[in-house]
């Protein structure tokens, strides 16, 4: 099968999954809760109530209501978010999502940049203290409550460092507001790090880089453990194969054997785990964003829960569903690209 067909097929398979997700959110919003309540206040009189019920089609049969719901979603009408001054949900997402995307991307870069070398190190030095410590750290990583880790990081690197007179990191927000008002940022992508680099706005770059470090580390911890564990076991698997023995017996230095010969094959299984770690990163976003007052969709979702803003929560759920499913598609495609056995299988 050609890669192009594989991608098309995988892409088409996403449609039923995403439709299913809308059935799920529809069931929650239209069957388990009264959809009318999103449009009413205690001042709504019975006549207006009737108008709302009729106007939005809430007196129609369920399948018809689902049809309207789907048409609304597809035409960009995701309802209004009560917890964000009743702004349209899509507008809220457009404003807040770049902050979350930036945090998640930096966090995943940290996970890969540290997790993969750590896994390799652990495999190459199997059964030494380096290996044991790495594995215990990985285990702690997947057991760590990220919100607590976030609070601890704030306490140590911000509060205590400040007390000790060391350079300390900010604990809240994406950028220092004084820096931002002194050097206004021309937004292109909404990712502060990227935008400030593109417009050569270095004060904002430095400020947003120092703001993102702690939340990104807190968010990276779980995935870091996962990635280093998988990297270790797949490296060990590859190191046992004949072609590695051959390479070693040719007298090649270990560095060459590991990085030139083994790594290419060992890294492939690790790719699939990156899809899973994206899931953990997205799930951790509400927790970490609340702790660090990060103005992203996660903090919005947490606030939406407090005020029972159903449209907000459902918008967030569908958004995360789309992002998660698309990243998994990207991971699968990359996997098929690197490993032709999948495509032809």
């Amino acid at each position: 099968m050609k890669l192009r067909y594989y991608i098309t097929r995988r892409f088409l398979l996403l449609i039923p999954v995403l439709l299913g997700l809308t059935v799920f959110t529809f069931t929650i919003t239209h069957i388990f809760t009264n959809p009318v309540s999103a449009y009413t206040t205690d001042k709504t009189n019975p006549q207006q109530l009737q108008q709302i019920i009729h106007g939005y089609g809430f007196d129609q049969p369920i399948p018809v209501q689902y049809y309207y719901y789907l048409v609304n979603l597809l035409s960009g009408n995701w309802g209004f978010s009560r917890s964000m001054a009743s702004e349209p949900v899509l507008t809220v997402i457009r404003t807040l999502f770049p902050a979350t995307a930036e945090l998640a991307i930096v966090s995943i870069v940290i996970q890969i940049a540290i997790g993969i070398p750590l896994g390799i190190l652990s495999a190459v030095r199997k059964d030494t203290w380096t290996d044991h410590i790495t594995r215990i750290l990985a285990m702690i990583g997947v057991s760590m409550p990220v919100f607590w880790l976030g609070l601890l990081l704030q306490y140590l690197f911000s509060f205590q460092f400040h007390v000790w007179g060391l350079p300390y990191l900010p604990t809240t927000g994406r950028v220092d507001s004084f820096v931002l008002s002194a050097h206004p940022l021309h937004q292109i992508t909404g990712l502060y790090l990227l935008d400030s680099l593109l417009t050569l706005n270095f004060p904002v770059f430095t400020s947003s880089l120092s703001s993102i470090i702690l939340p990104a580390i807190a968010l990276a911890f779980t995935g870091l453990g996962l990635i280093s564990r998988i990297m270790r076991s797949s490296m060990l698997e590859v190191l046992r194969q004949d072609y590695i023995t051959l390479a070693k017996s040719k007298g090649l230095p270990q560095r060459i054997v590991v990085y030139r010969h083994a790594l290419k094959n060992a890294i492939i299984p690790t790719l699939t785990i990156i899809g899973i770690s994206v899931g953990y990163t997205l799930a951790g976003a509400p927790l970490v964003e609340v702790v660090f007052s990060w103005p992203g969709v996660g903090r919005w979702a947490a606030a939406a829960i407090q005020s029972l803003d159903i449209n907000g929560i459902m918008g967030f759920t569908i958004l995360i569903g789309i992002v998660f499913v698309l990243t998994n598609l990207a991971v699968d495609v990359a996997y098929a690209f690197m490993n032709p056995r999948i495509r032809f299988g």
Partner: protein
Amino acid sequence: MRKSLLTMVGLVIVAAVCFLALFAPYIAPYDPSLPNFSQKFQPPSFRHLLGTDQYGLDIFSRILFAFRLDLVIAVSVVFIGVLIGVLLGAFAGYQGGKTDEALMRLTDIFFAVPALILALAVAAVLGRTLTGLVIALVISWWPSYARLIRGEVLSQKEKLYVEAARAAGSGKGRIILRHILPNSIYPVLINATLDLGGVILTAAGLSFLGFGVQPGTPELGRMVADSASYVFDYPWVIAFSGLAILIISLGLNLVGDGLRDVLDPRLRR
């Protein structure tokens, strides 16, 4: 060798936590929810082993009772999840055809969103109660068990002993429950143990966000959330409750990992 040492550490942690949770009322030196404002923000000492929080509540006593609550949440979520998942998955796998297809498409939906966020969406309608939290977590967790058991049942149902049972005139329910399930449930049980740590973490996360239990209830995630704003002045108010979450889920993960290794030798190295 080293690996089994880690599993032992996990077992010791889990056993200790279970012991503390079980005998919490006898071990706890103070009432976990009786405020004593003259004693607030006491640092750890012999009188208050892990210090006191903003209400003067003894943190050690609260953690003991929170162990109880969190273990009950995790075990009931996994138990109910396994029950629902196994029954539905085994039936669909045995039945095959459209039933099977329908269940698989249904579970696909649940895998499209990370568990914590799915639980968040469900919990939004169920309200902020403990039962709501448990139901939300069950809804996020059952599909993985349904998938797992379905695969097992698919491989078992063509075997001779099943055909023999069918020839002997056993009904569908009897064949599934008495013949196939006993031969295919182990992977599910292992996964269920592995999941306990994850469920505890997710439950703590949700209650940190304000879901599940009411403020002030001795629940680990809630305790961190309730005291989070005092962390800079009195770090111990969150240090130990968060550490307790880490320890309990680490213990469960170590045991789960060890179990998987024993039963799946391919992963043992």
